[in-house]
């Protein structure tokens, strides 16, 4: 029997509900962190993601106008780079998505041109991985330890802001 998938763990999903992370008023308190992540790492897109059971929800967004992701505020979870961190509880870096074994056939890569990704998990005070603070680029690139340190600091600030929303 295989281990249960953390994505569908009811306690983790309850934590997302308790923190009211699906509310539209979350973006204004997280968007500046996404903007800072993109700016500091010199990449066009950054998200504060919340990984649900079957979809990624965009809780905070920074990116150019016209991206469909800004309209849908999410995408199917099977396309999600951020879901990896929910399962591993670790940072996840993809420097060349076209050659990455898990993501080279991902539609975000084949159709939308994603080429690099770096994400740091958002872990609540109750120990649940909610999602990631991540950056996304359209060209291959490497990520230095200093880059990840920037993301870690912004992820910690995101969790602090998120925890203030706890309703249960």
């Amino acid at each position: 029997m295989s281990a249960p998938d953390p994505l569908r763990d009811e306690a983790r999903l309850q934590e997302i509900a308790d923190l009211d992370l699906l509310s539209p008023d979350v973006d204004p308190i997280l968007a500046d962190l996404a903007e800072r992540a993109a700016s500091r790492l010199g990449l066009p897109v950054s998200l504060v993601s919340v990984v649900l059971d079957e979809a990624l929800h965009v809780a905070g967004f920074h990116g150019p106008d016209g991206l469909w992701l800004a309209e849908t505020r999410g995408h199917p979870v099977e396309w999600s780079f951020c879901a990896t961190s929910v399962r591993t509880r670790a940072e996840f870096v993809v420097e060349d998505a076209e050659s990455h074994p898990e993501h080279r056939s991902n539609p975000l890569v084949t159709q939308d041109g994603v080429r690099c990704y770096a994400g740091v998990p958002l872990i609540s005070s109750r120990g649940h991985v909610l999602g990631n603070l991540c950056v996304v680029g359209l060209e291959q690139r490497s990520f230095a330890e200093e880059d990840l340190a920037v993301l870690r600091a912004l992820a910690e600030e995101a969790v602090r802001r998120i925890e203030r929303r706890r309703v249960a």
Binding site: A55, H57, W68
Partner: protein
């Protein structure tokens, strides 16, 4: 508005994304809550949406049932949001594909 019924048979080319269906919604609920609790939640959502569980005939009916599911709150609302996002993504990318096929941008 999407075509009806939401049978889940159509796959969006390139994205290999299947049109969301009632069966997908029920399966998602079952993966989180197990069959019995999932059935309770779905039947209640359909009843309150004024549609017949197991017999949703249109995309609009599926949307109403999922919206009703979201009103149950808590973890059920989280699962409902997943379904909403999958429906929005399918609709948005289908529209883009149709527009591209017609030689214009949406």
């Amino acid at each position: 508005m999407m075509p009806s019924p939401p049978g889940g048979a159509f796959r969006l080319p390139g994205y290999d994304l299947q049109e969301p269906s009632e069966a997908d919604a029920v399966a998602a609920l079952e993966r989180v809550f197990g069959p019995e609790r999932a059935a309770d939640r779905w039947s209640r959502a359909c009843r309150e949406a004024g549609v017949l569980a197991g017999h949703l005939a249109t995309w609009a009916q599926l949307g109403r049932a999922v919206a009703s599911l979201a009103e149950q709150g808590g973890t059920t609302a989280v699962v409902a949001r997943s379904m909403e996002i999958r429906m929005r993504t399918f609709a948005r990318l289908s529209a883009s594909a149709a527009a591209a096929a017609a030689g214009r941008q949406p």
